[in-house]
């Protein structure tokens, strides 16, 4: 591709139309509290995993909602499910269930793919 000594840069933009948002819809249906997140970041601030590695539940939840699923799938397993985020969430989001549902949804999609 780098015929001329460079390659054409890839889009960084989230293409909302092209993305699959079915995982977010699945979670939202099973755990309605997923919808009331206001992205305050309290979860990420207290996160046990976030103490060791750049892991932000807030970011992952947004990416899920936008259908940017790859990054979520690559990172969601870093969660230890310790539940601190659930305790500090000002909106009462059942974060642990959201994560479990996300894992489940990815699992199902992997199954379907096979």
């Amino acid at each position: 591709m780098d015929k001329f000594g460079f390659a054409i840069s890839q889009q960084r933009q989230i293409d909302f139309e092209a993305n699959r948002r079915d995982i977010a819809e699945y979670i939202s249906e099973k755990e309605p509290s997923f919808r009331v997140c206001i992205e305050c970041g309290c979860c990420a601030a207290t996160c046990t995993t976030g103490n060791f590695t750049p892991f932000s539940l807030r970011e992952l939840l947004i990416l899920l909602k936008r259908g940017e699923n790859d990054k979520v799938r690559d990172n969601i397993n870093k969660c230890m499910l310790c539940g601190k985020c659930t305790l500090v969430c000002p909106r009462g989001v059942n974060t642990r269930n959201v994560i479990s549902l996300a894992r489940e949804a990815f699992q199902d999609r992997i199954k379907n793919a096979v």
Partner: protein
């Protein structure tokens, strides 16, 4: 030779169920692990045999435990089980004593009246008939309660999780028909011959007054036999399978077999031993605080038996263990649920009749998202040396006053310790296990184990019962693991912690994972008694409530948790204590938000009670402290 064709259905049913019970028992035995087989053999031929017989009598027949919790329910179960047992016993004796021969085939006892219609006119025979009628009356009274209970639960709109399948309906109908058909058959025969005692005799003579009793009796004897036969044949397909299975369970349990963390024949036996009595539903806080009535253990086991997808049921549970404590059959409900969580989603399969008589072993394949390790980002741990290591736990970091109190106590007691997760540690792994992710949990367990072992400590102290349970059960640490309440108790006993007595009225809330989960009931209460005026509540020890904050439940909303917490707090603070004490950071946080009463961890109460001389050597004073290097 006394014979009539109507006995054939009964005979088929009886011999079928006897053979089936033997075959199924052999299959279960075969599926047990090697150790468990050995245990069962020793148990069966050993001392626990007597214990098992006693238990069978007390529980399977008399239903003592159900009696204890619910008299009406207990009577119902006892009248049906013990009543029927006695009816068979007395019937057999009757056939033996008054029949034409000794050691009769079972049907002769069952249909004794048909073959000996003249029996029971006077004297000893009449007394015996009276006893038989009395037993029948007892059973029928139990049956009436059962029918009322069933109708009532429909009237009040309690939802059944699964619809009755056609075979279930047939089985249930046949069960309900057994005793009424016997009553009517015996009554007609008695009416025709002028025999029978207070029940069959009176009913018989009344029926005979306007019906041709002699002709009417025969079809009802057929019905009686058919009902018995049908019930016996269909029994393995219904929840009444619990009757034979429970016998096996009692022997297995008394031989020392436990559920453990692997599925197997014992789990299977327990699953089939549930009689769906509903006591677990009554014990469940999700039921009595939030009105969730379709996820309790009875439904879980029913779903597993029916091969349904029980994932949502499995995860909607506080894992508090209240039902385990109350289960009259002694099924290890919470461990079975844990196994089910690990299995994740299972597809519902409608099984063939044959498969339902001889089900496959339930598969418990854990959910795997990826083969990659999940936590390879964790840093390699640097060793710290200490006699005692203190692991606060994630939840304790959200309740800094507990953490600070523990530091104060440790400093005051002069123990040489290291605070290994001072700057935020790695989760103990139990939350992942509760979510069914054992493989991932194992990674965290390995990480923490290394950290603890490298410290060379002899004692591990934690403030969190969740951590405590998993440290004890799933970590292979060859050191003493103590919850801080136990540790404080030791310090007081040794005399290294001098405390003032505070005249405060305190009640104690036992955290689920510390109490029912780990069996630690006494030490926290001892410590509290040492420093305060500990009061009783209706929910002490094994009967303690869950605070509602449980990490075990993945499904309920925050609002529902709040309701459970408020309900629990209200019940615990009924007598207006000054402090609602607990020994779990999560319980403290949850309860504190749900009550006006001051909620405090035992560590906080103790830290406040430390005598001044102890405090003199307090090392946590920022002016005196020598900063240690970061430990993680």
């Amino acid at each position: 030779m006394q014979f009539d064709p109507f006995i054939i259905p009964f005979n088929i049913g009886l011999y079928f169920i006897l053979i089936y019970a033997v075959v199924r028992s052999v299959m279960w035995f075969r599926d047990l692990s090697k150790q468990d087989k050995l245990r069962l053999q020793r148990g069966f031929f050993g001392r626990s045999f007597g214990q098992s017989l006693k238990e069978i009598f007390m529980e399977s027949l008399l239903h003592r435990k159900i009696f204890k919790t619910n008299f009406r329910l207990g009577y119902m179960h006892m009248s049906l089980a013990f009543g029927w047992f006695l009816l068979i016993l007395f019937g057999t004796l009757e056939a033996d004593i008054f029949g034409s021969s000794h050691l009769n085939a079972p049907y002769k006892a069952i249909f004794f009246k048909y073959f000996n219609p003249d029996h029971g006119r006077a004297g000893f025979e009449a007394v015996w008939s009276f006893v038989m009628d009395f037993l029948l009356a007892v059973i029928l009274s139990g049956l009436i309660i059962a029918i009322i209970k069933r109708l009532y639960s429909r009237i009040v709109g309690m939802k059944k999780t699964t619809k009755l399948r056609p075979l279930d309906k047939v089985a249930l109908t046949s069960l309900w028909m057994i005793f009424p058909s016997r009553l009517i058959a015996e009554s007609f025969t008695s009416g025709a011959y002028g025999t029978g005692s207070f029940l069959t005799g009176s009913l018989g003579s009344w029926l005979a007054s306007f019906l041709p009793a002699h002709e009417m009796a025969y079809p009802f004897w057929w019905l009686y036999s058919l009902s018995l036969g049908t019930f016996f044949v269909l029994l393995p397909l219904t929840r009444y399978m619990h009757i034979p299975t429970e016998l096996f369970l009692i022997f297995a349990r008394n031989s020392g077999i436990t559920t453990g963390d692997k599925a197997g024949a014992f789990t299977d036996i327990q699953t089939y031993s549930c009689s769906s009595c509903g006591i677990c539903i009554d014990a469940c806080q999700l039921n009595f605080s939030t009105g969730i009535t379709n996820i309790q253990s009875a439904y879980l086991l029913k779903g597993i038996r029916n091969n349904e997808n029980v994932k949502d049921i499995a995860f909607n549970c506080l894992m508090c263990g209240r039902c385990d404590q109350k289960c009259p059959v002694g099924i290890e409900l919470t461990p079975i649920r844990m196994l089910r969580r690990r299995a994740g989603e299972t597809e519902h399969v409608e099984k063939s009749i044959l498969k339902r008589y001889f089900p496959d072993k339930p598969s418990f394949n854990p959910v795997k998202v990826s083969e990659k390790p999940s936590f390879d980002f964790l840093p390699s741990s640097r060793p710290v040396k200490a006699d005692v290591v203190y692991f606060a736990g994630c939840m304790t970091h959200l309740t800094p006053s507990i953490r600070n109190s523990m530091i104060k106590i440790l400093d005051a007691s002069g123990v040489k310790y290291k605070f290994i997760d001072e700057n935020g540690g790695v989760c103990c792994g139990r939350p992942l296990m509760l979510a069914g992710q054992d493989k991932e949990a194992r990674e965290l367990i390995n990480f923490n184990s290394k950290l603890i072992l490298k410290s060379g400590a002899q004692t591990l102290v934690t403030s969190c019962p969740i951590c405590y349970k998993v440290f004890r059960e799933s970590y292979y640490l060859d050191i003493e693991v103590l919850h801080h309440t136990q540790f404080i108790k030791n310090l007081i006993d040794e005399g290294s912690l001098k405390l003032n007595f505070m005249r405060k009225k305190v009640v104690y809330h036992t955290p689920c994972d510390l109490g029912r989960g780990s069996g630690v009931y006494d030490e926290p209460r001892d410590v509290l008694r040492y420093v305060s005026r500990l009061q009783k509540t209706d929910f002490d020890n094994e009967n303690s409530l869950c605070c509602g904050g449980s990490l075990g439940n993945m499904k309920i909303s925050y609002k529902q948790k709040q309701i459970i917490a408020a309900d629990a707090a209200a019940r615990l603070t009924k007598d207006n204590p000054e402090i609602l004490a607990t020994s779990c950071p999560l319980c403290k946080k949850t309860l504190a938000a749900a009550t006006e009463t001051k909620v405090a961890d035992i560590a906080e109460i103790v830290a406040e009670a430390i005598m001044l001389p102890n405090l003199m050597k307090e090392k946590s004073n920022p002016m005196l402290i020598v900063k240690e290097p970061v430990t993680i």
